[in-house]
């Protein structure tokens, strides 16, 4: 199927990032050593590259016009190999050969593995190498692009700065560099070992993270003559937008300084220097996989705000750091109320790059879905009640073709129709309405818990691999149990947008889900290995306040 670069392809990337993270753990567990921390900090960056931006052909790894990906921070090899497996360079099962005798998957990336472009390992050299590739492409008037990932630890190496000067001198605009700025190197925090920003005096490096006025790394690169873009390196839409900007910049090389979290996605690994380079104990691996499956997103619904100033509601979502923005389109027919149409979405689109999660509560969506694609939606959800196999099939294909994620919604009194089963393995999002759509301010319908319990085996049976979005009456009281039911995306109406301080409301939502997740993981730990494993797992959480918080939950639940 040909794809047209319109939507973000958000869930496709997200799902493959999750797969890759699981393979990282699998490979390192099997090897008994390796570097999970730095593989996880660059997971979204590699995910965006491999699943959207990079031109390559796994059937012909040496294809002359392929884009080149150079992993300069070669110790994060498991991250590279996992992505290569996901996109089809070799079977996923091969990641289990990592670091083993006779394997193509060496401890550090190696040309022995077709598709690998650079033998990494000795740090600080990948950027110079990339310049060589970029210069060769210029000599030959080739159009392929070079993408290079460097680490912040390896930026201690003088050669990085030799290369920085050279790239500017030769105007290699066919080179885009990601700095995986995770603030941690082997010994400790980068700002303690060799500050790129400012020296860190205390042990709490979150102070560096919070205070943008202390970030100097971008200034360094700007002064070297580079186009500098600074992003949150875990937000797919920011990586995507940065790549688009980089590709449009001519005459200078671009560096995308990506603030990331070492060990991202696993609480006990996050920001913990210990996880730079070691493998998790095998009894912890199932816990890690569960945690990876339990990532969640918060999507404020702007119609719960001031309908006369949706622009402002968007801005509030942005400053609140929403994961998506949920846009409820109501036509006055499918539901009694009317909100806005695609023209309004088009108007709002330039205000933010946060994914638009468009929920079409309209009749005959197949007639209008293209308008909502063109308006800039990243996820489009249509209702089962107004579709059949044929119309949904048409919508499904159209969305996939335009890299827009596919959603299907059911009302509280609707069961998942049988015709939808065949689509379940490729649907990205399933909205389970927990209020009657069309009226705001309703209470969460408690029967939804039972419905979720009925639904989960059906979804499993039909290989649903998307995300369940809970929509309707979600608040701080019920969000934990809704998460426990299996929802991973939470639409917040009045409970978020209705609040004065959206940022705090979203943070509270996240904390509630986090604690619910911890409770579930503790239950699982108890199930897998009794209080011994519970205790062991808790003790892994050494950074910040996590351990005390988790201990409290464990005590309440009687696992300690």
């Amino acid at each position: 199927m040909t794809t047209i670069n319109v939507g973000l392809n958000y869930y496709h990337i997200k799902k493959n990032v999750l797969r890759a993270r699981k393979l990282v753990i699998q490979s390192i567990d099997s090897a008994g050593s390796g570097h999970p921390g730095g593989s996880f900090s660059m997971a979204e960056i590699l995910g965006c590259l491999f699943n959207k931006h990079l031109n390559f052909n796994p059937e012909n790894p040496q294809w002359e016009d392929r884009d080149r990906l150079v992993l300069s921070k070669g110790h994060a090899a498991p991250g590279l190999f996992s992505n290569m497996a996901v996109v089809g360079y070799f079977p996923e099962s091969e990641v289990k050969t990592l670091r083993k005798f006779g394997s193509r998957l060496q401890g550090h990336p190696d040309l022995k593995c077709p598709g690998v472009e650079f033998c990494g390992g000795s740090l600080g050299t990948g950027l110079s190498y990339s310049i060589g590739i970029a210069l060769a492409a210029k000599i030959d008037s080739k159009k392929h692009h070079v993408y290079t990932i460097i680490g912040d630890g390896e930026s201690d190496e003088g050669q990085i700065w030799e290369a920085a000067m050279t790239a500017a001198k030769y105007k290699v605009d066919n080179l885009t560099v990601f700095l995986d700025r995770n603030f941690i190197q082997q010994d400790s925090y980068t700002e303690k070992i060799m500050p790129l920003d400012e020296q860190l005096e205390s042990d709490d490096f979150s102070e560096m993270w919070k205070d943008a006025s202390r970030w100097k790394t971008g200034d360094k690169w700007r002064s070297f003559g580079w186009n500098v873009i600074e992003i949150d390196g875990h937000r797919i839409e920011q990586i995507d937008a940065a790549l688009a900007k980089a590709n449009a910049t001519k005459g200078v090389p671009t560096i995308i300084i990506s603030r990331t979290i070492k060990g991202k996605s696993i609480e006990h690994m996050e920001n913990n220097p210990q996880w730079h380079g070691k493998s998790p104990d095998s009894d912890i691996v199932p816990m890690i996989n569960l945690e990876l499956d339990s990532q969640f997103m918060i999507a404020p619904s702007i119609i719960a705000g001031d309908m006369s100033n949706l622009e402002n509601e968007i801005k509030r979502c942005v400053s609140g750091r929403a994961d998506y923005i949920h846009l409820d389109v109501m036509d006055g027919k499918f539901v009694p109320a009317k909100t806005f149409e695609h023209n309004k979405i088009k108007e709002l689109r330039p205000l933010t790059i946060i994914p638009f999660d468009t929920h079409l509560m309209i009749n005959e969506p197949v007639k209008y879905v293209k308008d909502y694609i063109d308006a800039g939606s990243d996820i489009i959800t249509v209702h089962a009640e107004v579709n059949d196999e044929s119309s949904f099939g048409e919508i499904h294909d159209l969305l996939k073709q335009h890299q827009v994620s596919v959603g299907l919604a059911i009302n509280p009194d609707t069961e998942l129709p049988e015709w939808s089963y065949k689509f379940l393995s490729s649907i990205d999002q399933l909205i389970i309405m927990s209020v009657i759509p069309g009226k705001s301010g309703q209470k969460y319908i408690d029967e939804t818990h039972a419905k979720m319990a009925r639904l989960n085996p059906v979804l499993k049976e039909h290989h649903f691999s998307g995300y369940i979005e809970a929509d309707g009456g979600i608040n701080l009281e019920n969000i934990g149990s809704v998460f426990a039911d299996g929802a991973r995306v939470f639409v917040g109406g009045g409970a978020i947008i209705g609040q004065q301080d959206v940022r705090t409301a979203i943070r509270d939502f996240r904390n509630e889900v986090l604690n619910s997740r911890r409770r579930i993981l503790l239950t699982k730990a108890n199930e897998f290995g009794g209080s011994e494993l519970v205790d062991k797992w808790i003790k892994l959480h050494v950074i910040g306040e996590k351990q005390e918080q988790i201990k409290k939950i464990a005590h309440e639940a009687g696992y300690l």
Binding site: P114, S122, G132, K138, Q159
Partner: protein, 319 residues
């Protein structure tokens, strides 16, 4: 007397005209190495990366993986001595399917003690040892400009990583224009039956002089130009050991790990005979004006006179 760097520059331009994939890189020594001439001829195939040798080596690797044939040049002291990690991990180690290492040619000037006035800090006496121990690398030391003119096209044609060390000072011709050069093949410049002197670079001329004076005394001394230190010519060395019974080696390099060591390693496994290695005895060099370089070399025994002396001594130790 002729200048190796000028010959290098001419050979590069000639080879570069024949092969558009040849690119040349320098590190702020391009006027000295005369590679800037290539840059005038082919401006878009010439890169001066400044005083950044690590960068020089690794950019060359990136060009090579993209099908270019980079010749990267600066002074000997600044390449093997300074950028060995990049040479090993970015050039020698990465091996595309079916190949060994990347197709980069490191050609340096100012090898050995004969660098002269710049002093010990600039006299690279460890490069043969460093370079020959790295898998996949070829190591050449030409004795004159004819060798340079023959080896450049040879290196350009043959895939793989090469290191070639030239001398700073002008050198007399020791080869004829018709001399054939092959990778891994030594050259017998004088035949002889009583002893062999194996030499490379500037010591080849000294060996020829020594052979000449030994001849006056009735001693028949074979002279080999071991310009290809890696791969080394095992058969020519075995033959010399078998037919002459003893070998003197001479090089402007530490006797540890140098050409003499390579010869000793080879002969000890094929046909062991007494060997004496002339060279720097595990110490550093020092400044000497151009007209004093012979004194510096003499201090380290790198003279035809010492070769004659050593030949006479070693003959008594023959098995």
């Amino acid at each position: 007397m002729s200048d190796m760097r000028s010959e290098y520059s001419k050979s590069l331009i000639k080879t570069g005209k024949e092969n558009p994939n040849i690119v040349v890189l320098g590190a702020d020594t391009t006027d000295s190495l005369k590679t800037s001439e290539f840059g005038k001829e082919f401006p878009n195939r010439f890169f001066n990366v400044g005083i950044a040798e690590a960068n020089l080596v690794t950019i060359s690797a990136g060009l090579a993986i993209s099908g270019k044939i980079p010749f990267a040049s600066t002074y000997a002291i600044f390449l093997p001595g300074r950028a060995v990690d990049q040479i090993r991990n970015n050039i020698a180690y990465p091996s595309p399917s079916g190949l060994k290492g990347l197709n980069v040619k490191l050609v340096v000037s100012h090898g050995g003690l004969s660098v002269g006035p710049d002093g010990g800090s600039h006299q690279q006496i460890e490069d043969i040892a460093i370079m020959r121990v790295i898998p996949n690398f070829h190591v050449f030391i030409p004795a004159d400009t004819i060798a340079v003119s023959k080896l450049i096209p040879l290196m350009a044609k043959e895939y793989g990583p090469f290191y070639m060390r030239m001398a700073r000072s002008k050198t007399p011709l020791v080869h004829s224009e018709s001399q054939d050069f092959q990778i891994g093949k030594g050259i017998t410049l004088r035949d002889g039956s009583d002893c062999t002197i194996a030499a490379c670079g500037i010591t080849v001329r000294m060996a020829l002089e020594a052979s000449e004076s030994l001849k006056q005394e009735g001693i028949s001394c074979r002279v080999l130009d071991v310009f290809s230190i890696k791969p080394i010519d095992h058969s020519i060395l075995e033959k010399a050991a078998r037919e002459t019974g003893c070998i003197i080696t001479a090089e402007e390099h530490n006797v540890i790990g140098g050409m003499g060591s390579a010869v000793a390693e080879s002969v000890s496994e094929s046909y062991p005979v007494p060997i004496k290695r002339i060279g720097v005895q595990d110490m550093f060099g020092e400044s000497a004006r151009d007209d004093e370089i012979h004194l510096l070399l003499e201090k380290h025994g790198i003279t035809s006179f010492n070769m004659v002396k050593q030949v006479k001594e070693i003959r008594s130790k023959k098995l």
